[in-house]
């Protein structure tokens, strides 16, 4: 019987929403004809308790990997632990969700095991004898690549939010057998351990705000952002921006939306003076509603947005803030 190993990501014993998607991806592999059972892999003793629920997500067994060095996240130690399991069990496939950590751990594991690795897979198109035809994302999500993966064990990450993160309807009430494996990590595995954390003040952030007022080159200067900040404050939202803006030093990079910035999904994204380049679009395309404010009616952002206003953002935004104040005054 061949297994699909599904790495279950967690941070000091706490799972994220995306963690469960590696099991959804593993179920998709089984459905496509890769492997016949799913083994969830939970790394580090502090996450043992997470194993209880995984049967309902399709795992028939759970491997808990223990080692003194596996107390907090360390990419090299996690990668070594996964590579050790590959050597021990020769699984059909090893999968994770394509998060920063998921991709990093699989890159390490595949490098150590000398296997190829396909990151951010969206679809398994067909299964051959020792090869898979798959589709994966390139360019931060704006382009799909069809490729062939030839390997003894397929190492794959599933693009985040593509595969099911809910319990499996076929496994309601199912429980998985747990097994503890003591890893034998090399001394070097500790080199990449987290040694400290810096916690920033929480509050409304770009990634959690319901409204994002975002500015591009059309804003013109750092001072030009004042009306965007004003409107965002009035709506309890956050300010975002394009890469041109951060390159000019008008806003910090932490405000940047796009392929090399943040991925956000607010209720309303107000794109002011942003042309709508593909690398910007991939960062905000998950927004529920988009309003484009642009002097150019032909701008790509205007064509793609649900709502648009043509005109100068420097005139429009202060008028919007004034109108909001007016309506709020009893």
């Amino acid at each position: 019987m061949s297994e699909v190993l599904a790495i279950f990501e967690h941070d000091r014993g706490v799972a994220a929403e995306t963690s469960f998607q590696s099991l959804g991806f593993a179920r998709a592999l089984l459905a496509a004809g890769v492997g016949s059972s799913i083994t969830a892999v939970v790394i580090g003793a502090e996450a043992d308790a997470l194993a209880h629920d995984l049967g309902a997500y399709g795992a028939s067994s759970v491997v808990l990997i223990h080692h003194a060095e596996l107390t907090d996240y360390a990419p090299e130690a996690w990668g070594e632990a996964v590579a050790e399991l590959i050597a021990l069990r020769s699984p059909a496939a090893v999968v994770a969700t394509g998060t920063d950590r998921g991709n990093e751990v699989l890159a390490y594991a595949s490098a150590i095991a000398d296997l190829p690795f396909a990151a951010n897979v969206t679809e398994i198109r067909s299964v051959g004898d020792a090869s898979l035809d798959l589709t994966r994302v390139r360019w931060g999500g704006s382009l799909l690549e069809r490729s062939k993966l030839v390997a003894a064990t397929y190492v794959l990450s599933g693009a985040a939010h593509v595969f099911d993160g809910e319990p499996s309807p076929d496994h309601i009430g199912a429980t998985a057998a747990t097994e503890t494996v003591d890893a034998t990590l090399p001394d070097t595995a500790a080199r990449t351990r987290i040694t400290d954390r810096v916690t920033l003040s929480s509050g409304i952030t770009l990634t959690t705000a319901a409204v994002v007022v975002s500015g591009g080159r059309g804003v013109g200067s750092a001072e030009g952002f004042a009306p965007l900040v004003e409107l965002a404050d009035l709506l309890g939202g956050a300010v975002g921006c394009s890469r041109v803006v951060t390159n000019n030093g008008w806003r910090p990079h932490s405000d940047q939306v796009g392929q090399t910035g943040k991925r956000i999904a607010p209720e309303l994204y107000i794109a002011c003076g942003i042309s709508g380049a593909i690398q910007h679009w991939v960062g905000m395309m998950a927004s529920k509603h988009v309003l484009a404010i642009n002097t150019d009616g032909e701008a790509n952002m205007v064509g793609k947005a649900e709502y648009a206003v043509i005109g100068d953002l420097h005139k429009i935004l202060p008028a919007v803030s004034a109108e909001i104040r007016k309506r709020r005054t009893p």
Partner: protein
Amino acid sequence: MALRILVCVKRVPAPGARITLTADHSAIDVKNLGFTTSPHEECAVEEAIRLVEQHGGEATVLTLGAAEAEEQLRYAISVGIVKAVHISHPSLVGESDWDPQATAAALADTIASIEAADGAFDLILFGNESADAGGFQVGVRVARKLGRPIVNGIKSIEVGDTAVVAQRESTSGFEVYNLPLPAVLGVKEGLNLPRYPTLPGRLRSKKAEISAVAAEPIAGGLLTESFDNAAELVVQTTMLGTGEDAAPAIVDLIERLGLL
């Protein structure tokens, strides 16, 4: 401590609103496109220059790619890198790419021979992922081949005598890593704000000598076959008006969405 730093960069197209493919979908249509260095790597280049300014030493830039990738090496020199190495092969033309295992093997071999001749690099910088292929692995594979630690997603670097302190963004702030030197880091844009070339820098870059290295691709297991544009939803845009007169309509919308 004077530092020896290496930065690995990749030449990528800079598409605008949409990526256009060739008729047979085998490649990006680059006829009307400009090219650039992957953004994360531009910040890696900048960081290498700053670290050398701070600690002394020397920074080198390395790429594997078509003849035209020389442009990206010269750009790195124009902003302050002193040495450049270009790995080429007859199969590397236009936008063709090697499999990540083949790319990593060639980079690691080249790094090993540079180090054998000139001394080890204290720090090697990669981008977190290349902008086009987004394989999320070349840096890790190279680091493993060299027997060095690597952490990705780095947004701050401080080099000490025997270790480098590197920070990576998390959902609640930053994770701090402490890697023994020599080390490798995969960095993200936002690490710094890259400088622009100066006129003397540009002149220097035109004359600079680039070391040419030949390499053969090893067989890798990930074979790219064709491309397709991601499905784009087609929307009917509702025009809310023009200029400041549209303000009431905008506020109506915000109210309708329950966001006022």
